[in-house]
């Protein structure tokens, strides 16, 4: 029998998505998952890590781009490299742990081949006696550790693409670049610094369920009702006991999940960009008038001037989603990087950052959110993960063929390549439709 033609398969993928609905197999089919990894995750710009994760020469972190195990390493020349975590000799992973310092070289644990931080070959034992007149030679690129085809940083955030061609990082991010500008601009020094280490949580579902949930503005008041209500009860009691405004902001961060009701969520807006990226406009009271905020404001005004300061803190976003694998909450200096493990298993790396030059109290605010919402003992994501698992189980069944993305369908405002949710339609499923539009472009071969 002839091999199935690539074109036929491509057609299949494209047919699985309609503007308002998606075939369930897109979430559950192993072959589609493999194709997604090859055509999306292992092609586009994927967030690898932050430069401050590897401050010194030889510092490294290991992670994944699609199915590829990768190393982020700081070179002795100060440059940040992204390498495949694989020795060119017999394929051994070079770094077997999550992080560390490799000194002035990588040394394979199997046969002691050594490499520079940029992956280039340094030495091979028995180079003369063992490898004379073979392909193994210093000038053979196959004897070096393979590098990510392209590596680019933006304001300290390191991305890599395993494809040689394609849009630049800036072209790819487009307006979603606001995620990094908003985060860094809020720092008096204009930079952020990562706080080690990340939390890592696995969800038993397809990676797309995570991405679709992030800007699903209807789900919080349903999914997170229990935590929101419980936090609100304690918040009310504390407010009675304390003088005005003394209840820690962290209670509000939790109670907002319940006190912001469905109709209010419709008042927010999503803005959806090419390549599947989206922004959800803000909802939390992140400009309280407590002494900590006022002290911070003063530093910022001194650094940037009143006008620029107002512009910076006036940026009204809650989440920025960089498709296919990054969710950034810039006003709270956190991000979640999505690392698909299998069709039904997804790891998220959850990181947070310090605003350089900001008072400690402002960091504590970000930290409270990180601990309460994003830690492995989260009172919020516990219910999301439960939903993701249930979604994946249901989608694996024959109980239906389609996933519906009809909420406020047909009422989006299209402005060229940008699609905005309509007025008072913040819960529109426009972000999911936008993600699937990008998915089709990538899977059909016409994407960037």
């Amino acid at each position: 029998m002839a091999m199935p033609q690539l074109k036929e398969r491509t057609m299949d993928y494209v047919k699985m998505v309609e503007p308002d609905r998606v075939r369930r197999q897109v979430y559950t089919d192993e072959a589609i998952f493999a194709a997604e990894m090859a055509r999306i995750h292992e092609q586009v710009w994927i967030y690898v890590g932050h430069e401050s994760q590897v401050p010194r020469s030889g510092d490294y972190y290991t992670t994944r781009i699609g199915r590829q195990p990768m190393i982020l390493v700081r070179g002795s020349d100060g440059k940040v490299n992204v390498l495949y975590n694989r020795c060119p000799h017999r394929g051994t992973m070079i770094c077997g742990d999550m992080k560390g310092n490799t000194g002035d070289q990588f040394r394979c644990s199997y046969h002691a081949w050594t490499f520079h931080h940029d992956g280039s070959l340094k030495s091979i034992p028995m180079m003369e006696s063992g490898y004379r007149d073979t392909r193994v030679a210093r000038d053979n690129p196959d004897c070096s550790v393979k590098r990510a085809a392209r590596v680019q940083s933006y304001r300290g955030f390191v991305f890599a693409s395993l494809a040689g061609d394609g849009p630049t990082l800036k072209e790819f991010l487009g307006p979603a670049i606001v995620a990094f500008d908003d985060m860094c601009d809020r720092a008096p020094d204009g930079e952020v610094e990562i706080v080690p280490n990340c939390f890592r949580v696995i969800q038993r579902s397809n990676w797309k369920l995570f991405m679709e949930n992030q800007l699903d503005a209807l789900h919080p008041s349903v999914t997170h009702q229990s935590t929101g209500r419980a936090a609100h009860e304690v918040e009310k009691r504390l407010a009675k006991q304390a003088k005005k405004g003394e209840v820690p902001l962290s209670y509000h961060m939790l109670s907002a999940f319940a006190t912001v009701t469905i109709d209010k969520w419709d008042g927010f807006q999503t803005i959806n960009y090419p390549f599947g990226h989206s922004v959800l406009t803000g909802y939390m009271g992140l400009r309280p008038q407590d002494p900590d905020t006022r002290a911070y404001d003063k530093i910022m005004i001194k650094r940037y001037g009143k006008k620029r300061f107002e512009e910076i803190v006036g940026v009204n976003i809650h989440h920025v989603l960089v498709y296919p694998g990054l969710s950034v909450q810039s006003p709270l200096q956190q991000l979640r990087a999505v690392r698909p493990i299998g069709v039904d298993r997804t790891l998220t790396e959850i990181w947070h950052f310090r605003l350089k030059g900001a008072p400690e109290a402002i960091y504590r605010r970000s930290l409270a959110y990180y601990n309460l919402v994003n830690s492995p003992a989260t009172m919020i994501n516990a219910d999301d993960l439960e939903n993701f698992w249930k979604c994946h189980q249901g989608l694996s069944s024959d109980g239906g063929d389609w996933v519906s993305f009809h909420r406020h369908y047909g009422r989006d405002i299209v402005k060229g390549e940008v699609v905005e949710s309509g007025p008072n339609m913040g819960t529109s499923e426009a972000p999911m439709r936008n993600q699937m539009k990008a998915w089709v472009q990538y899977m059909g071969g016409s994407g960037g």
Partner: protein, 161 residues
Amino acid sequence: MSTLQVQHDVEQFLYRQAGLLDAKQWQAWIDLFAPDGVYWMPPDASYETWEGQPAIFAEDKNLMTVRMGRVQHPDAWSQRPLWGTSHVVSNVTIDKVAKNGDVAVRSRFHMLELRRDDVRHFAGQYTHQLKKAKSGYRIRLQRVDMTNAQAAYDYVLQVWV
């Protein structure tokens, strides 16, 4: 009080602490803490304070009350499936008994958790700062250094370990 008596009382207290978690007696468990008591699970054993650093748990009694309210709420969806835990506490080593009777004590725990059809196993060290109360002890600090704290979590922790 004899050393043996203190050892016995502290052990009984630690067993009771773990037993209340297994019995899901949340309020009774929270009541074991002193008014300024803190439950802390650091991400790494090198951490020296719960304040100002990432923590898996860092909860005073107010936050504990939020967590209790959440797991008891009828719409806590992730609490619906069958789940339960079983703790074993052992290797109880008293580090210090102050003149006023306050105790610093380390112990080891193993906890098996069943959730739906999945079993997870967590283990590690408890470090307790116990305040001598009229009857028994109150917890000033319960530090939980879980051996698998830094591993990737397959699902999350919903209640205290």
